[in-house]
């Protein structure tokens, strides 16, 4: 085969070898020491120098544990630093998620990137500004109060020469603790925060030069494919290596039931993975996805927990054991003039990352280990992998390299573990690339959620009592189980974590008595993890759908009903602005006379305050429903969004638009299917997502409040989408669908049911 060098020579000067604007070289020399060895940079999150390095020429590098998975995090964090340092944003580079270089202020998720990571950087930058002004003052012989910091210089406000900030450090260091009281630039003086500088990764991404973890190549590495068991828990019985005859230079790795092939040529590894004859035990321990809601309802409850208990004299912590409290609730419900009940269900869904997970690991003989991964939680991954594979955490460096969108914990952490195990075993750098089938089958899933709702309403429409019961898989302490360790027989304690899936189970509307009761279930068929806005699209699908059911029964307009029962001015603002932009007609649902040719048309809305304490989001949509096919076409979506201070409005709009499209996909199309052995939805045909043809018109209204605290916004706009869709479909058809996805089959079946 032609070597790369020979090939480059044959192509001559015309070949462009791409380099990205990122600091990630695509080809990494495994023989050279790491670019900055562990210990070269301070990483204590109490030190300013851990967060920022000021270079002699005045450029600044920011270090943060928060990573940009396509969200615009790096430009927003750069803006927050630029604001405090008075530096043009072009002079700021952000390095995220490198455990060797960055202070640990937590992993990325839960919409905490800016609230924790950005604010930590901002406070460090404000501390640095204070110090630079003081140092500049000493050098210039002027009090700090007469100086300003702007354009990379400390200089007198009234004119005169200044000093570059690069000249005011000790070899790039300030040696300062972060001052929590260092003053921040007030909102009225913002020059960078609240504007929309373009994301620095955009040019490389749009010209095919951005390096993804899937693109990394280390000199001397092997490409590997892991051969998965046919079912979780299946054991490897035999392997016939002669089935690989004719495929050049392939190694087989077998550690109990962990089976992989590795080769210097990637196509050889792919061929080998497909050709290798292996036999496995049969395992049929799954319940199948059909009637999963019934399986959940019959399941073993590990414990009950009262999540919300408003309007009760008994404190929530006591309510679980208070029989009187429960009896009082039942009495109110029973005595109400109108009583309502409904059951909603949300199935398992996948992160369905477009690029299957990949990782590169280099475990050296002396235990020094480098892992390149798109994991959103690099520090947590370092601890887990060090413990699992007998490495010293202090000698393990995990470097974040962007993968495709991950939306929580997808297969990336598993791929990293695969790579470490293989590199340790083969004593060479190893790259593991998951296949499409691997990613769909083996990524940890969004959990199944069963939600029962009951409400009692008086003759005037006042909600006297509301009870939400949810059956959800219990979270357990400890890192999630690791596939490589499971199959290789490496004993490890593991937990379960689908994150805060119990939030937003209560209506945000005035009601005399509200209880949310979680039944934490012992068993769950598939491994779970945090999937964007964990649990909340499902909970709000139920809550906002149920509110709409009440409205329909009472014959009242769903918008008016909500507005009358909201008192928070920020809630009312998003609801009213979205309604006005949408052109909401006040009337009850459904409106079965509305038609567009043969299509039924309808409109629906939903509102949420994310997690009960954060972003205010109101979402309205127009749909057409074809009764002949059951097909739903979403025509238009209007979303009003208040997250307080907005750092980069354009990046935020991008996120909200994406959240709407992604969650429409989940609500219309997505359900993990599995039989008694394995996940069966393993490609885009069996797990369809929203395509370009289905794109609705989307209008995003940002309610910006720079004087308020900021909330993260990567997730909140997903939450009302399914509910607004279900409500719009009801408005169009008179049929209430309480289970996603709203497939054509389900819609048709519901329409034909008398």
């Amino acid at each position: 085969m032609t070597s790369r060098r020979e090939l480059l020579q044959s192509l001559g000067a015309g070949l462009v070898v791409g380099f990205t604007l990122e600091a990630v070289p695509r080809a990494i020399d495994a023989q050279a020491p790491a670019a900055a060895a562990i210990g070269v940079r301070p990483v204590d999150p109490n030190q300013v120098d851990s967060f920022l390095a000021i270079h002699p020429e005045g450029a600044v590098t920011i270090y943060t544990s928060k990573v940009d998975v396509g969200t615009g995090m790096r430009v927003a964090i750069a803006q927050m630093a630029a604001e405090e340092l008075g530096l043009p944003i072009e002079r700021i580079t952000v390095v995220g998620g490198d455990t060797g270089l960055c202070p640990n202020t937590g992993g990325t998720g839960g919409s905490t990137g800016l609230t924790r990571g950005g604010t930590a950087v901002r406070q460090a930058a404000a501390t640095a500004r204070q110090a630079l002004l003081a140092r500049g003052g000493l050098r210039l012989g002027r009090p700090a109060g007469e100086l300003t910091i702007d354009g990379g210089e400390v200089r007198p406000v009234d004119g005169g020469p200044g000093l570059g900030i690069g000249a005011l450090t000790d070899n790039g260091l300030l040696s300062l603790a972060v001052d929590p009281d260092a003053p921040l630039t007030p909102p009225g003086h913002y020059r960078v925060v609240g504007t929309s500088p373009s994301r620095p990764d955009m040019p490389a991404k749009c010209t095919g030069r951005h390096t993804y973890v899937q693109d990394l190549r280390l000199r001397g590495m092997l490409h590997a494919r892991v051969i998965r068991p046919p079912a979780p828990g299946a054991r490897l019985r035999s392997v016939d290596e002669s089935s690989l005859d004719g495929i050049p230079d392939v190694r087989v790795v077998r550690i109990e039931s962990f089976l992989a092939v590795a080769a210097p040529d990637e196509w050889a590894a792919v061929r080998a993975a497909s050709a290798l004859n292996a036999t496995w035990t049969e395992v049929n321990e799954l319940p199948g996805h059909d009637r999963l809601d019934e399986w959940v309802r019959r399941g073993v409850v590990e414990r009950n927990q009262v999540i919300v208990n408003r309007g009760s004299p008994v404190a929530p912590a006591d309510a679980g054991s208070s029989e009187d409290d429960a009896r009082a609730l039942e009495a109110v419900l029973a005595g109400a003039a109108r009583r309502f009940s409904a059951s909603y269900f949300w199935p398992n869904q996948s992160h369905a990352s477009l690029g299957p997970s990949a990782a590169v690991a280099d475990v050296r003989e002396d235990g020094e280990t480098t892992i390149w991964t798109s994991s959103q939680v690099t520090f947590g991954l370092r601890s887990t992998l060090a413990r699992l594979f007998g490495l010293q955490p202090g000698r393990v460096r995990v470097i974040f390299v962007e993968g495709s969108g991950s939306y929580g914990t997808n297969g990336a952490d598993h791929a990293a573990a695969d790579a470490v195990l293989l590199s340790k075993t083969l004593r060479l750098p190893v790259r593991v690339q998951w296949t499409r089938q691997d990613e769909h089958a083996w990524d940890p899933k969004g959990p199944q959620q069963l939600i029962d709702l009951r409400a009692g309403v008086d003759a005037s429409g006042r909600i006297l009592a509301w009870d939400t019961e949810m059956w959800i898989p219990e979270n357990r302490r400890g890192p999630r189980s690791v596939l490589a360790a499971d199959t290789a027989g490496i004993p490890h304690e593991s937990g379960r974590d689908a994150a805060a899936i119990f939030e937003n189970g209560d209506p945000p509307y005035e009601a005399d008595r509200v209880r949310v009761l979680a039944h934490w279930m012992r068993d769950t068929p598939l491994n779970t993890s945090n999937l964007r806005a964990p649990g909340k699209p499902a909970n709000v699908f139920a809550v906002e759908g149920f509110v709409d059911e009440i409205c329909a029964a009472l014959g009242v307009d769903p918008l008016m009903f909500r507005v009358e029962r909201l008192s928070d001015p920020r809630a009312l603002e998003v609801v009213r602005r979205a309604a006005a932009a949408f052109g909401w007609q006040a009337r009850p649902s459904p409106n079965l006379k509305a038609r567009q040719g043969d299509l039924l048309t309808g409109r629906g809305m939903a509102y949420v305050r994310y997690k009960g304490t954060e972003n205010y989001v109101a979402t309205f949509m127009d749909v057409d429903v074809d009764p002949a096919t059951g097909r739903i076409a979403v025509r238009r979506v209007v979303c009003a969004h208040d997250c307080g201070l907005v750092v980069n409005p354009d990046a935020l709009r991008n996120q909200i638009e994406g959240a709407i499209v992604q969650t429409l996909s989940r609500a219309l199309h997505e359900e993990i299917t599995f039989d008694t052995a394995r996940v069966t939805s393993v490609d885009w045909a069996s797990y369809p997502i929203l395509t370009f043809r289905e794109l609705p018109e989307i209008e995003v209204i940002l309610v910006e409040r720079p004087e308020e605290a900021l909330w993260g916004a990567g997730e909140a706009a997903t939450v009302p989408v399914a509910a607004a869709l279900g409500n719009a479909v009801f408005d169009a058809t008179g049929v209430r669908l309480r289970r996603v996805p709203l497939t054509t089959e389900r819609v048709k079946a519901a329409l034909s049911t008398p």
């Binding site: 040529d265 296949t435 991008n654």
Partner: protein, 153 residues
């Protein structure tokens, strides 16, 4: 071992392919070092690997490299660089038409093929031509705006 010759982005290339059934995508990303086209599914379902073969958009993951023999391949790298993007790429950059960006090279190549035959497409024509390019982040709205912008529409 068979030697396959083809043209990539205007440059002649020779490749020793020990397996002529190896997909073009693997040849591009491996020995030929063009990493812009992405591995998404290997099943021609997602469009992340889209390149042009004699000006037609194809999914490189299912095109055997042998069938590209003697033909012209155009990849995302042909258009421009981050510092000097071509018109279509510049429109994507200006509209911020990406989130993770993994689907973006494929989107742009499909758009490039569309604009070559339909210089001023309608929104419906764009959505149709790009319907085989999946975007999981949901950036379709901006991709649509970018293609309209590039076409002067």
């Amino acid at each position: 071992m068979p030697i396959i010759t083809l043209t990539i982005n205007g440059q002649p290339v020779s490749l020793d392919a020990w397996d002529p059934a190896m997909p073009l995508l693997h040849a591009l990303r491996g020995p030929l070092d063009f990493q812009g086209a992405k591995p998404g599914c290997g099943l021609a379902q997602c469009g992340a690997c889209t390149v042009l073969l004699d000006d037609e958009p194809v999914r490189a993951c299912v095109v055997p490299v042998s069938s590209a023999s003697g033909r012209r391949v155009t990849t995302i790298e042909a258009g421009g660089t981050p510092e000097a993007p071509d018109r279509l790429q510049a429109a994507f950059i200006a509209e911020g038409a990406a989130q993770c960006g993994y689907c973006t090279p494929g989107m742009i190549m499909s758009a490039r093929a569309l604009l070559a035959r339909t210089p001023h497409p309608t929104a419906e024509q764009i959505k149709d031509a790009l319907s085989g390019n999946l975007c999981r982040c949901g950036a379709y709205t901006r991709v649509l705006r970018a293609v309209l912008r590039a076409s002067g529409g």
